[in-house]
């Protein structure tokens, strides 16, 4: 009987330990837990997986290198994931669960601006710092969030370098940039519209005339009407952004309709795999990107940008898209902040994050008071001979931009 009571007592104690463990799981033994709701199923599952792999690879390398040193003790990193099914409501729910039930006190961002927008109010409410790598919408940083930090460049910068490049070329040709004309076709969703606002503001600043400004409905699978207009008005620059579908349609229909523009700038070229899908027809296209393996950034953990690409490819069997690179950088930012804070206190880590000054393989990282990274520019690729080659900004350009795009009649 007494024995049984003892057993019961032990069991209760064990249960108590487990419960205590779940209530305060942020640091268990020598392991610090980060949490993330991530899109493993649903429409963002491809990029959700890139994001997760970026996180995992950084955690793996940091742990292999001995983990992080906080207040004289070594800690390992680990991440608790939940699948948000690509839906914002689910993402917010899971953030609550990570914080309240799993006791996570440090969050890594989800994939996409939409999901980040849903989760940020939750992390903010609980004072949980979140470093995110895949929510680029500028509107995330106008809410006055104190606990949100983003390593990537925000949307209004996406195609700014393309507009600047066009102006640069015009000037080099002895032409006033204000004689240039621009056609814009952006999908009618918040993310693409943010990019559009950046492009239009830049065009206005340079005095470039906007001759077409179409908003493509998200459910539309055809942009023939817009392209017919482009054909008639012959702008100097055509800028299209509508996720992978927009990039796919732009290349396919421009080839089919023989739309000639001296400069075509897109987003989401790599997720649309325009080179693999369209080959020759993708040549000369300019593409905005957060990062490229050929950039000259480096750090002690991964080495150079090219080294990161090699490590990633050895681990997962494909070249890392920028989504994976920026996600890995987010983990590095947390690791750095923990070490500098010297504690796992949320507020102290938050303050350490806000003072981040880092050089990583992904680019330099420094947050402004709204939490967005202001130290890393977007890069612009051009498809040249079946490869993405960085052509702007000039400091990292691996090759001269090929301009103007010859007419289709001369391209076959």
């Amino acid at each position: 009987m007494i024995r049984k009571l003892k057993q019961l007592g032990l069991a209760t104690a064990a249960l108590g330990l487990v419960l205590a463990g779940t209530a305060d799981a942020k640091v268990e033994g020598d392991t610090v837990y980060l949490g993330s709701a991530i899109s493993l199923t649903g429409k963002y599952s491809t990029n959700g997986e890139h994001t997760q792999r970026g996180y995992d690879l950084a955690v793996k390398l940091i742990n292999e290198a001995g983990g992080i040193m906080v207040d004289g003790q070594d800690y390992m990193l680990d991440i608790i994931y939940y699948d948000d099914e690509s839906t914002p409501a689910r993402g917010a729910q899971l953030a609550e669960r990570l914080i309240n039930q799993d006791g996570v006190e440090f969050m890594l961002g989800p994939y996409s601006s939409g999901l980040t927008k849903a989760i940020a109010p939750v992390t903010e409410q609980y004072g949980v710092p979140m470093v995110e790598a895949n929510g680029a919408s500028l509107s995330l940083f106008t809410e006055g969030y104190q606990y949100l930090f983003a390593v990537l460049s925000t949307t209004e910068q996406y195609l700014a370098s393309a507009v600047a490049l066009a102006a640069e070329i015009a000037e080099a040709e002895g032409r006033d940039p204000s004689t240039l004309t621009l056609a814009a076709a952006f999908e009618n969703d918040p993310f693409s519209q943010d990019i559009r606002n950046g492009v239009l503001a830049d065009a206005e600043a340079l005095g470039i005339k906007v001759v077409i400004d179409d908003q493509l409905p998200p459910e539309l699978n055809d942009m023939a009407a817009t392209l017919a207009k482009v054909k008639a008005l012959k702008p100097d620059i055509l800028v299209v952004s509508g996720h992978a579908k927009g990039a796919t349609l732009a290349i396919r229909q421009m080839e089919e309709m023989r739309v000639d523009v001296p400069m075509l700038a897109l987003t989401h070229c790599d997720s649309a795999d325009i080179i693999g899908n369209f080959g020759e027809a993708a040549e000369y296209t300019l593409c905005a990107s957060q990062w490229a393996p050929s950039l000259s950034y480096s750090d002690d953990l991964f080495g150079s940008a090219a080294d990161f690409a090699a490590t990633f490819e050895a681990e997962y069997g494909y070249a890392p898209p920028y989504q994976a690179a920026e996600s890995a950088a987010a983990v590095m930012v947390f690791a750095d902040a923990f070490e500098r804070a010297g504690t796992f206190d949320k507020a102290a880590v938050r303050d350490a994050l806000s003072e981040t000054v880092m050089e990583t393989f992904y680019g330099n990282i420094e947050f402004d008071e709204t939490g967005k990274n202001i130290a890393k520019p977007m890069v612009l690729y051009q498809v040249q001979d079946g490869e993405y080659v960085v052509v702007a900004p000039t400091a990292w350009a691996a090759s001269e931009v090929r301009w103007p795009t010859p007419p289709w009649a001369d391209r076959q």
């Binding site: 199923t41 649903g42 429409k43 963002y44 599952s45 491809t46 990029n47 690509s86 076709a185 009618n188 400004d213 179409d214 908003q215 493509l216 409905p217 459910e219 539309l220 699978n221 055809d222 942009m223 023939a224 009407a225 817009t226 017919a228 207009k229 054909k231 008639a232 008005l233 996720h243 992978a244 579908k245 796919t248 349609l249 396919r252 080839e255 089919e256 309709m257 023989r258 997720s271 649309a272 795999d273 899908n277 369209f278 009649a409």
Partner: protein
């Protein structure tokens, strides 16, 4: 908007370009709309899963290209695979709701559409997929007007499929059974028609049509697990505009709507394209209703 109209005056070839693009786009919708007209007319089921059938046809064709098979073969293959899937879905799900309230069948097919979306996402991932038909472009009027050959294939295919379907319904035994069932299922049953089999065949044919349409979509545009809905909505609209049970009307409505919406996109801007289509739908419904009411008056 006036600038855009001015463009037509400055460059009249644009009129032809916009018209052709619209008609050729409409043709693909028309194929999916045949199927919807059939299922709606015969089974009294509004098939919400229509667009997902189209996407599935596209993905099957895409899969063939991964195996090194030319995507044009995808048209019959996708149709055949979708026919089987359609029959299976009929016996698994649709059969249980076909004689129920229309709301029940709406829910059931809506559920199926979510299921198919997720399955496609699991199998092929959430990326936009395309297939290269290898067909080129025709140029008219000194390169000013361009016609993608794959779109012409789609348009001709739509016309041929429409014709086959009309003849099939008029002449073949099964077609006659389908029409009889559409008129009065109970009477058809009394006359010895196995309506269960007729429904299964109807649903299978519908899925096959969608599969063929999807195969054309992946070659001319792109497919993605979650962009099936517009095909459902357009087929629904086309059937409403054409009038239930009016198959020749379906192809005309499909091509006409395609052209109308492309003109709207050109003149008003792409952001008003879908809005315009729905406004047009409302106008057509109101006009049709007043015409019908007038007819009814004469009947008194």
């Amino acid at each position: 908007m006036l600038d855009n109209l001015q463009l037509f005056v400055d460059a009249p070839f644009l009129l032809i370009q916009v018209l052709l693009d619209g008609i050729l786009f409409g043709a693909i919708f028309a194929i999916a709309a045949y199927g919807m007209a059939l299922v709606w007319g015969v089974m009294n089921v509004i098939n919400i899963v229509q667009g997902e059938f189209v996407m599935l046809g596209g993905f099957i064709t895409f899969q063939l290209t991964l195996w090194g098979i030319h995507p044009l073969f995808g048209i019959p293959v996708a149709a055949a695979v979708l026919f089987v899937i359609g029959i299976a879905l009929y016996y698994g799900v649709i059969r249980r709701v076909v004689d129920k309230d229309m709301f029940i069948s709406l829910l059931a097919t809506f559920g199926l559409s979510i299921l198919l979306q997720q399955l496609m996402n699991q199998i092929w991932g959430g990326d936009v997929r395309t297939a290269q038909s290898g067909l080129g472009t025709w140029f008219l009027f000194d390169y000013t007007v361009t016609v993608g050959q794959i779109k012409v294939v789609a348009c001709v295919g739509a016309l041929i499929l429409g014709l086959i379907l009309i003849v099939f319904l008029k002449k073949s035994r099964l077609g006659q059974a389908i029409r009889a069932t559409a008129q009065n299922p109970r009477a058809a049953q009394v006359l010895g028609i196995n309506t269960d089999k007729v429904f299964a065949a109807t649903y299978g044919i519908n899925a096959a049509l969608c599969g063929a349409a999807g195969s054309l979509v992946v070659m001319a545009y792109s497919v993605h697990p979650y962009i099936g809905l517009p095909y459902t909505v357009r087929s629904f609209m086309i059937v409403i505009v054409a009038g239930l049970g009016n198959l020749p009307g379906v192809i005309l409505a499909g091509l006409g709507l395609g052209a109308a919406e492309n003109f709207a996109a050109f003149i008003l801007g792409a952001q008003f394209q879908v809005a315009f289509v729905f406004c047009l739908l409302i106008v057509i419904l109101v006009v049709r209703n007043t015409l019908l009411r007038r007819k009814r008056k004469y009947l008194k």
